[in-house]
């Protein structure tokens, strides 16, 4: 590295000398000696700054990892480099603080969680070899894999698991994992390889939380002296040391994150030596980098480019269409003067041609959604009203609710009030805005006059959604693989008064911002969290979906599909229904 710099300096100094001499010759006759001195000065400054800049832009020379060091007792040798792109930068590299998919996408390589989801989205053990649930469902015992080592050589024990969960339970913890662990009463290490989690009440969704990348087990020996409030600032939050298949090498802001195969990984693999994650700032740039072969995998091809790419790259690339685990909807205030009438809500639903919206805005890459569930969920039921567009039925339902068409084509009630309300949404999202425009147009056709107001994100949340002050709004939910929707539809999550009763003038407690109150749903939601029996839960959540489908706290709209693409030189790629997983099993052909 030093040599290169010296060469650079020398080359520049040499060229500056020659230019100066030439200048001197040119200026001699003009007696512009003083001016020439000025030029010399300027030139020297220029040259020096060039040299400085050239040396300044030297990225930290990457320490070439000692390849001979870790080969001992190793069967598989990893080779090759898998490159992919993220649109954005990680906000942290500490799994229990991550909130964005970029951070967790990186930490997922470096850390292991107790559990994980397999290619069927079922929960299986990762660091936990197996686990037991006590008869009352309130004690979970996890038996850890033996001989698991952190990247610095320390062995993973039950204490690390206890430490990680206790860090989240610390009142000074500033991350977002606390609500996942809210029913955890105590975590104890029964032995080096046995952890017990005691719950204050049965909480089935905690299994899903423990299986997430966000619950990566962090090493106690590194983090033990850090107060919870300083976790984000602690340097190991940017230099992760985990037990995962890849070791963290470096993150260069705005450029890349590099991970190297952990040759002592406890599980199978890894077979690819290097994972290079490039950070882009624009979806078009990710796309062109993929087309150029700079990255091997793209998680989402913009819909308007899918056909072109399929044509141009069909030979060297595999395309996979995957659904998103989430959906978009329009939330309707359930105690709104006009919208509280179920007939009106159903009529609004019958007025919409949602398939056309999907075909227009997403070029067909999406699916109509009819309740709080997506088709890939194990708890999903298709046994619901599909609300195909039916303008006659809509008109009839409006009429039943007392709305008749006036001369201007809009609906009026007996008091002469027009059927109008306002929808709020977020600025800066083109697709959503296109959907809203089509929805409003279709509603206008049946006589409902809906206006839309766009707000900047923090305004939208602070002044409308998080305080529950709106008539309607458009938003989406990212779902987990657990079908629980307690936060969205249980009455305890709506606006409550001081006595804890639902009250439109109270404070919003959870995400039930539409203030949907139904004791039957409350009961089902509670029951669904209390049983580990999947068949039993399927029945419960199907019922919930059917009730929501009929009563419509939301106008359920659509879920989108992404088209992902990966170059064919990658082999043994494991796909879950949602995305490629288990990178440690992949191989690369060079």
């Amino acid at each position: 590295m030093l040599d290169g710099r010296i060469v650079a300096h020398r080359a520049n100094l040499y060229s500056s000398l020659t230019t100066n001499i030439e200048l001197e010759n040119n200026n001699k006759n003009n007696g512009g000696y003083i001016r020439m001195k000025k030029y010399l000065l300027i030139l020297t400054v220029l040259v020096l700054s060039t040299a400085l800049i050239l040396s300044g832009c030297t990225p930290e020379a990457t320490t070439d990892p000692d390849e001979g060091e870790n080969t001992e007792g190793q069967t598989a040798t990893a080779s090759g480099m898998f490159t992919y792109g993220f649109n954005g930068e990680p906000a942290t590299l500490n799994p229990i603080l991550s909130t964005d998919s970029i951070s967790s996408g990186i930490t997922n390589f470096v850390y292991d969680s107790l559990l994980k989801e397999d290619e069927n989205l079922e929960i299986v053990g990762e660091l936990a070899e197996n686990w037991e649930v006590s008869d009352d469902g309130k004690t979970l015992t996890f038996f850890l894999q033996d001989e698991v080592y952190f990247h610095d050589g320390e062995q993973l024990t039950a204490d690390d698991v206890v430490f990680t969960i206790n860090m989240i339970l610390d009142p000074k913890y500033t991350g977002v994992r606390a609500s996942d662990m809210k029913y955890v009463e105590e975590v104890v290490a029964n032995s080096d390889l046995e952890v017990q989690i005691k719950l204050s009440q049965v909480d089935v969704p905690i299994m899903e939380a423990l299986a997430g990348a966000g619950m990566g087990i962090i090493p106690e020996h590194i983090f033990k002296d850090v107060p919870a409030e300083d976790l984000r600032e602690f340097e190991a939050s940017w230099n992760p040391v985990g037990t995962g298949p890849y070791k963290f090498i470096e993150y260069v802001s705005g450029q890349y994150t590099v991970l190297e195969a952990n040759e002592n990984y406890w599980g199978e693999g890894p077979f690819i030596k290097t994972i290079m994650i490039k950070h882009f700032q624009d979806n078009q740039s990710v796309l062109s980098a993929f087309e150029n072969g700079d990255i091997d995998y793209i998680a989402k091809i913009p819909v308007e480019d899918i056909d072109r790419l399929k044509e141009n790259l069909s030979e060297e690339v595999t395309f996979v269409e995957t659904p998103n685990n989430g959906y978009y909807y329009i939330g309707l205030k359930q105690n709104h003067e006009y919208l509280k009438d179920q007939n009106v809500r159903q009529a609004l639903m019958y007025s919409l041609d949602r398939q056309t919206i999907i075909d227009t805005v997403f070029q067909g890459y999406g699916t109509v959604i009819n309740s709080h569930s997506v088709p890939i969920s194990w708890a999903h039921t298709d046994d619901v009203n599909e609300y195909p567009q039916d303008l006659e039925k809509a008109e009839q339902l409006f009429a039943e609710a007392g709305w008749t068409k006036g001369e201007d084509g809009f609906l009026y009630n007996e008091d002469g009030d027009k059927l109008e309300f306002t929808m709020v949404s977020m600025t800066g999202e083109e697709e959503k805005a296109n959907v809203i425009a089509m929805v409003i147009e279709q509603w206008k056709n049946v006589g409902a006059d809906v206006s839309v107001e766009y707000y900047e994100r923090s305004v939208l949340f602070n002044q409308y959604l998080d305080v529950g002050e709106f008539e309607s709004y458009m938003w989406g939910w990212n779902l987990s693989n657990d079908p629980d929707s307690f936060n969205q539809f249980h009455s305890s999550q709506a606006k409550l008064n001081e006595a804890g009763e639902p009250d439109p003038n109270g404070t919003l407690k959870g995400f039930n911002d539409c203030e949907y109150i139904n004791p039957e749903v409350d009961q089902l939601l509670e029951a669904g969290r209390q049983t580990y029996d999947t068949e039993e839960r399927k029945v419960i959540y199907a019922q919930i979906q059917q009730i929501l489908n009929e009563e419509l706290p939301y106008i359920f709209l659509y879920t989108t599909n992404d088209v992902k693409a990966i170059y064919n030189n990658l082999e043994d790629v494991v796909w879950s229904p949602l995305e490629p997983i288990d990178h440690h099993l992949w191989k690369i052909v060079e």
């Binding site: 832009c57 020379a61 980098a289 949340f461 936060n487 995400f511």
Partner: protein
């Protein structure tokens, strides 16, 4: 002169204090706060209050401002709410890329625009002048993002060896590889963003130079120079060119803040790891500390740039006396 310098420095300090207050207030008066980003949407008021306390956001505004400024004076720009990293570190790791790109863009712009402007003035209303004028308007009018995307698709993807994103190939470093290999790699990365920046930046300078040159060649002393029989070449290079350059030289002072400010569009399209993106992302994330540091840095560079412009003016034009 000394008096003038002292007065200017005092003025600069006052301006900076004013700007620090304004940028502090803008961030704190904007709706929302960093807690929205840090806490979950359904965090309890206690959790939110807890986070506010940890980051000192519960203090009254004047006290927060005082804390911030007293740390600034000590050279501590604070810690980012989002990443938990020192702000100065986040800025410094992005700054070199921005400076490199803007520095070379400036060099290219001046090297091309000055002669182009000069020639189109000397050959006023010739075809060259018309072409340059048209191109200049094009350069100004062309949306940068469109031009950049066109370059990517019709140059970057077609011509092997030209890179379309990033600043360097991983592993190709000074000293690790031969000098020219690295140079070639850096050049392959910088060429497209440089073209975009230079093309849109050139227009203004070329027009400026043209106007300035036109102004000068109609001066009396040029006529005098010609009438005393000096060859035209000498008239232009010795008399006209140098005087026409005066206003351009002072422009360089104003370029200083530009050198340190990132070009957001260019940076995002070419994934150039510069400072502009950091600034924009920090604004979206309500990362006060980073945004305020940016504002202050920009203000500092502007103030220093103006100061340099004044000094430069005096250096190149002996008629001007500052006091």
């Amino acid at each position: 002169m000394k008096k003038y310098l002292i007065r200017r420095v005092i003025q600069m300090v006052i301006v900076l204090i004013g700007i620090s207050i304004i940028s502090f207030l803008i961030m704190h008066l904007a709706p929302g706060d960093p807690v929205d980003i840090l806490a979950e949407r359904n965090a309890t008021p206690e959790q939110k209050a807890n986070i506010r306390e940890i980051y000192g956001l519960n203090e009254p505004l004047p006290i927060q401002y005082f804390n911030w400024v007293s740390n600034l004076v000590k050279g501590d720009f604070g810690t980012s709410f989002v990443t938990g990293r020192p702000v100065i570190e986040m800025i410094l790791e992005r700054l070199p890329a921005t400076i490199i790109l803007n520095f070379w863009a400036m060099i290219v712009i001046y090297l091309v625009a000055i002669p182009v402007g000069m020639i189109s003035a000397l050959k006023q209303y010739s075809w060259f002048d018309h072409v340059v004028t048209t191109l200049a308007f094009f350069g100004k009018a062309l949306p940068q993002f469109w031009f950049a995307l066109m370059l990517i698709y019709y140059v970057g993807l077609k011509i092997p060896g030209i890179e379309i994103s990033g600043i360097a190939t991983y592993g190709v470093d000074w000293g690790v590889q031969p000098f020219f290999t690295v140079l070639k790699d850096r050049a392959a990365h910088i060429v497209l963003p440089l073209i975009v920046l230079a093309f849109s930046g050139m227009a203004g300078i070329a027009r400026y130079m043209r106007a300035s040159m036109l102004d000068v060649v109609h001066q009396d002393y040029i006529r005098t120079a010609r009438s005393k029989g000096l060859p035209e070449k000498k008239v232009i290079t010795n008399h006209a060119f140098r005087n026409a350059l005066l206003p351009i030289v002072t422009l360089i002072g104003f370029e200083l803040p530009i050198l340190f400010s990132g070009a957001v569009i260019i940076e995002s399209i070419f994934s150039w790891p510069g400072i502009g993106l950091l600034a924009i992302n920090s604004i979206y994330q309500q990362d006060y500390m980073v945004v305020m540091a940016f504002n202050l840095l920009g203000a500092l560079m502007t103030v220093i740039g103006m100061f340099l412009a004044d000094i430069l003016y005096m250096v190149v034009d002996p008629r001007i006396k500052l006091d």
